[in-house]
Amino acid sequence: MGARGFFALLALFVLSSATATGYFIHRLRVETLSYHLRIAEMQVRTFEDHLTQSVLVTDQMMVNLADTENLERPAPDLRAILRRSIANLPQVRSLSVLREDGQVLASSSAGNEGQRLGFTDPQPALDGDEGLLQVAGRWLGRDFSSGQAVSQASAEAVQEARDLGFIPLLRKIKSGGHRYTLVAALNPDYFVQKYRERLLQSPGDLHVLRYDGLPLFGTSAAMQWGALRAEDWDPLALSEREMGSFDDAEHNELTAYRTSRLYPLVLVLRLKRGDALTEWRKDALRFSAMAALIILSISAFAILFFFHQRRLGEQRAAAVLAEKERLGAVLDALPAMVFMIGPDSRYRFINRAAREFFSGEGLPQLNNGEYGTDAASRYLRQCNPTLFDRHADEMRQLMAGKVDQVFSEHTMQLREGLRWHQLMARRIEAEGAEGVVAMVSDITGRKDAETQLHLAASVFKASAEGILVTDEAVNVLSVNAAFTQITGYTSEDMIGQNPKKLASGQHHAAFYKDMWLALKEKGLWQGEIVNRRKNGRIYPEWLTISAVRDDLGKVCNYVGVFSDITERKASEERIRHLSEHDFLTGLPNRILFQDRVSHVIAHSERNGARFALLFIDLDRFKTVNDTLGHHIGDLLLKEVANRIGTCVRSTDTVSRQGGDEFLVLLENIEQPEDAGRVAEKLLERLADTCVLEGHELHITPSIGIALYPEDGRDMTTLIKHADVAMYHSKEHGRNTFHYFTSAMNATANERLLMEHGLRRALENGELEMHYQPLVALVGQKVVGAEALMRWRHPDLGMVPPLKFIPVAEECGLIVSLGEWALREACKQGAAWHAAGWTDLTMAVNVSAPQFAQEDFLDAVRAILADTGYPPERLEFEVTESLLIVSSEVLRANIEGLRGLGIRLAIDDFGTGYSSLAYLRKLPIDKLKIDRSFVRDVTLDADDATITTTIVQMAHSIGLQVLAEGVETQGQLNFLQSHGCNEVQGFYFSPALPAVTFTAYLERNNGIAAQSAEATEST
């Protein structure tokens, strides 16, 4: 409210208050006047009553006097009576009895007697002797004796009288025939005094008038003698109303009047308005003063309040201004950009950060620009149209109140690079500040941190290592999934708990003490610790505990990272085990075995005990490996290892030395025979058929035994001697055992000699080829030759193939020996073909190692090309085991040979593993029945049956059959009778040198005679 309005209002208030006060005072005046009028009426009534009563008593007293005959008494007596009569009537000054002529007959005051009195115009006027009291005009003086009627008195006389006067009351009485007049001098002082006393309380003048208006007496000096104004009298209108009151405004007087109810007397009370209003004036003054005071106070208060409010308003406005500036300063200090956009899309406020951003981007400032169309908006739209349009749309929705706030996090390509921005906008509806406030913060740092945090969280979550985080009081805050996986404890199990829960009880207190010491000093501890899983199992872990410190360097967290090293420990154990054990069989290997043997030697030396070493070598194991593959060979070795294990005591040690060699250490044996018994048991156990993946294998060992201390006192010697003994077993038909003897050492040496010699044999031409004729049973002619190798050792003489071929196989010379033999045979065969024996077939033994050579075919082709021998006359003899192996190389070579036209024959048939049915599938042309069946074919029914069956079966599948080792006519006859195709043996001829064979051929060519010469050379 403005000052003008306020003061107008205030003036209105003062005016209305003053008016109200004035009206109230006016009402008070009217009421006061009315009150005084009423009081005056009451007083005049009281006075009238008193006056009437007083006059009535006097009147009655006079009437009473007349009733007696007192008036007839002599004057002195009458005087006494008169005196007594008025003794107690103070309103009567004297009482006189007048004769008809007016002479005073007797009087209470003796001075009156004798006087003649005349009264002019007594009221009411009487005709005759009506019984009415008459009131005469006033007399001056104390009594008739000294007084005179006022109407006749001079002004001096009035002055001299000094207020002393009386009113004659006349009563005409007849008594005793005479007419008398009784005159009572009414004492006005008595009344005036009464009236004055009463009027002291309420000022005013009382006047007593005769009914005709003649003033009789009054309280005021001025009215004492009745200067009655006509205007005072007229309003009384006594003819209409004998009592009443009125407010005489003209004379400022209040008047109340009343006529005596019995006598011609009127009382008029006149009150000056000023006197009546004295109290009112005081009240009015007091009230006005009070009202003025109140109005002034209220006004003053209002004015003070108004100015106070105005000052407050000004202060508030100043405060608002200051607040606005402060707010601006605060907003300017914000690192975020703040924009305020009004409802008209114009910028209302842009803080310093925003201004700097725009100047930094080389943009015009936004001052009062319009969002969406100004240069800055165009720039932003250019930067990222999609984003800008989305924001613009959101801003419109915000403005329209459709959404309350907008939040966005987005990237912006700015000059300094790609930045993350966060936009927050809200609508504000404060009065005078409607619009939208948008705040844009660069949150690139936060985003990076979030990424880092996310990464860390991912690591925490995904880590294969268990992670446990505690607070500074070592209460678990968090564990990761790996923790749960390793320990079995979930987050719920752990959070808030102490990691002590995991303790296994395997460590002493000192261990943990050291751990905490390290943590305290270095903030890091790592080591191996054994803890307990939830399921109660203990496990080793590799634990790293780091103390995390806050900015003040106070430890706030501990982070424990651990991995379950159960596996690693097991691996270590496994490696150790592997290093000491054979990979395949799990048996102690050479190293561990030697270690054990050393210990046993030491022990036995001290105790004089005896122990044995058993050297076990599997017979023909190589063939299994070569034919069935290493897989089967491995399985076989494992089986053998198991079986050996079952044959010895738990204290004994079984070891695989490599390949198919096993060593057994039998500790604390009493007798050498104990070792033999074990060897026998081994032979027995190993002889059992092995069924491995469908293959039935028969394996036999050769065992050599060396005893401590008899056969050696050191390990090397003992092992060597056991080895020698084993060889001895091999040489003696295998599947047996031998104790070492010193003689064996010589044989072993011989074998060694042979190996060395054999290497030189090819170079030295010590090898030569012999040929044994193959004779067809029909016609008994030589149809072929089996090429057989002979070694003419310079020292040992002729060495049979049985002796040197195994050596050659073992030392790997067999391939080159085989190739040499094939070349020699083809060369010789070509020679014989050239000599005309073109039907002759050359049969050559080919060993498994040869067949396994990848270049075997090439070698064969080369030999054929070199020698010019026709491949269709060449026959390769192989063992049946070779054919059943499904080696790719082998198969390819066989196919290649067949492609060349070379025929295949199975040597020593019947000793191997193959069944006849199986043979049908093989690409072979001929079976050679082993000599062991042929030898007893005429003596043993089983052998005869077998031989017969073989022949029949072979024929049924289209194979030729040759019987080896035919030595007798009976054998020949049996074979012939059973349809065998060919035979070879001493019955016809042993193997012959080429020259000799040529002679034999010449001799038999076309000759069906049997050979008489038999040379025992095979």
Binding site: A87, N88, R93, R142, N187, Y190, Q193, R196, E197
Partner: protein
């Protein structure tokens, strides 16, 4: 009513008068009042029953009230006799005492030379100046000096000490001597007289019992009179007994107590 009362009083007085006149004459000379009082066990005390504050018979109750009534009863108690009050007035005082209608007059009798010729007075126990009573409405009498003016009527009671004093003192005013009860008040109130003269106790009565009376005090001392009790001359033993009583009451405070009781302590005389 007043007249009826007056006539009753008159009859009563006359009756008593005739009864006691014979007896008094026989015993007057020879026997002391004291012996007779003790013998009869009756103490006869003359009073003026209109004397307000001294020996006033309240017309509304008929009870006697006043300082001398109290003291007379005290005297009776001292002597062990019954007190019998005998109505008298200043006009009849000498006659009543001389005629032995009472043993002592106890109504604050002004000790004047004229009375002392006929009566024997005790030592005074009160003393009073002369005062005037006028109406409030009387404009002619404003102060004491207005009294002795031509045309002024001054009323006095017959037999009172005021009668000779005023007769002697007034030069211009008319003296009206009245001899009926309450006549002075009636004269003044009805306007037949302007003032009447009286003493302290009576003026007190006027101011207290009327609403019209106005006291006009003398300027300075006008005429102070001592009041005492009166008895027949000659009876020394009776006189001595009274004097002794007067001394006792002055000494023991009974006088002052009684004076205070009747608001007369301003005029009490305790030597």
């Amino acid at each position: 009513m007043a007249s009826r009362f007056v006539s009753f009083f008159a009859v009563l007085t006359m009756g008593l008068l005739s009864l006691w006149t014979a007896g008094a004459a026989t015993a007057a000379d020879a026997v002391s009042h004291l012996d007779r009082i003790r013998a009869n066990k009756i103490l006869r005390v003359c009073i003026w029953p209109d004397y307000y504050g001294i020996s006033y018979r309240n017309p509304k109750t008929g009870q006697l009230v006043g300082i001398d009534v109290d003291l007379a009863r005290a005297l009776g108690r001292d002597m062990g006799v019954t007190v019998q009050f005998v109505d008298s007035s200043f006009a009849k005082l000498i006659d009543d005492v001389t005629a032995d209608r009472c043993d002592v007059a106890m109504f604050a009798i002004g000790i004047t030379a004229a009375r002392a010729e006929k009566l024997r007075f005790t030592r005074p126990h009160l003393k009073s100046d002369i005062y005037a009573i006028t109406t409030r409405g009387n404009s002619r009498i404003k102060d004491w000096n207005d009294i002795d003016k031509k045309g002024t009527v001054v009323a006095v009671a017959k037999g009172t000490l005021h009668e000779p004093v005023m007769r002697d003192k007034l030069k211009n005013a008319t003296l009206a001597v009245l001899d009926t009860p309450f006549a002075r008040e009636q004269e003044v109130e009805s306007g037949r007289a302007d003032v009447f003269m009286t003493d302290y106790p009576y003026s007190r009565r006027m101011l207290e019992t009327t609403d019209w009376a106005r006291l006009v005090e003398p300027i300075g001392t006008y005429h102070v009179t001592s009041y005492g009790w009166a008895l027949q001359p000659g009876d020394d033993r009776w006189y001595a007994r009274l004097e002794s009583f007067m001394s006792e009451i002055k000494r023991d405070g009974r006088l002052m107590t009684a004076a205070k009781r009747h608001k007369l302590d301003p005029i009490a005389v305790i030597d």
